[in-house]
């Protein structure tokens, strides 16, 4: 089992493993977010997804998110693993686990990390529908890079 706090892998993700990485004696709260492949988006049926990553850079960006989280929520520990390859409906695409001494911070830090993943981590999703395929990441989900580039410093996300 990998002990990397931030990882990209092409095999099914294990909640137990990611949560274990952040479990510590001084923490009473662990908030976990699990992103799964949803069948219907805006009424359109997804058959499967494919995720592709620029792996070394994606891991660096996940590590940066980790640093941001630990600065904003002192005492927190975060681990993130993102899946790549072909995923079926209900399979897990990403797991974020954050442990903190107190509960509120665990939720906040987790949500922050998820927002940042969607902004700066070089991972792309290809949707497979009954009538075609598309690499998403543009206006389908959000306006990308409103400032012309990803907000790599994180100033705009409080």
């Amino acid at each position: 089992m990998s002990e990397r706090l931030f990882d990209i892998q092409d095999t099914p993700l294990s909640m137990e493993e990611v949560v274990r990485k952040v479990t510590r004696r001084e923490c009473g709260a662990i908030a976990t977010f699990i992103g799964t492949v949803r069948e219907l988006t805006h009424g359109k049926r997804t058959l499967k997804l494919e995720y592709q990553a620029y792996k070394p850079m994606a891991i660096k960006m996940l590590e940066q998110i980790g640093q941001e989280v630990e600065e904003k929520w002192p005492g927190s520990t975060i681990a993130i693993t993102h899946r790549v390859g072909t995923l079926d409906i209900t399979e897990i695409a990403v797991i974020i686990a954050v442990s903190t001494p107190h509960r509120k911070a665990a939720y906040e830090a987790n949500e922050y990390a998820m927002e940042r993943i969607k902004q700066i981590v070089p991972i792309w999703k290809k949707e497979f529908w009954e009538d075609g395929t598309k690499w998403v990441g543009d206006q389908l989900e959000q306006t990308p890079y409103p400032k012309g580039k990803p907000d790599v410093k994180g100033e705009d996300n409080d």
Binding site: Q52, P122, V136, D138
Partner: protein
């Protein structure tokens, strides 16, 4: 030489996941213009350039030996 990594739609458009280019000295902005002509990539305006795994500015200059990547809007999570 400079290695140019391609992902997602660019990889499919080019039919390969990387190409070698000989364009040291170009800025990132100039690289984008060159790529538009050379590869007829669409949607480069929304695409970031990474130099050696770090997001680059439009004015950064390519050096020989760099690993460049085209980063279209990301959609992980």
């Amino acid at each position: 030489m400079i290695r140019l990594l391609l992902f997602a739609e660019f990889q499919e458009q080019a039919g390969t996941d990387q190409v070698e280019i000989d364009q040291a000295g170009l800025t990132v902005a100039e690289l984008k213009s060159w790529l538009k002509q050379e590869y007829r990539f669409t949607s480069l305006d929304q695409t970031m350039i990474a130099i050696n795994e770090t997001y680059a500015n439009e004015t950064d200059v390519l050096k020989d030996g760099d690993v460049i990547a085209l980063i279209p809007p990301v959609s992980g999570g």
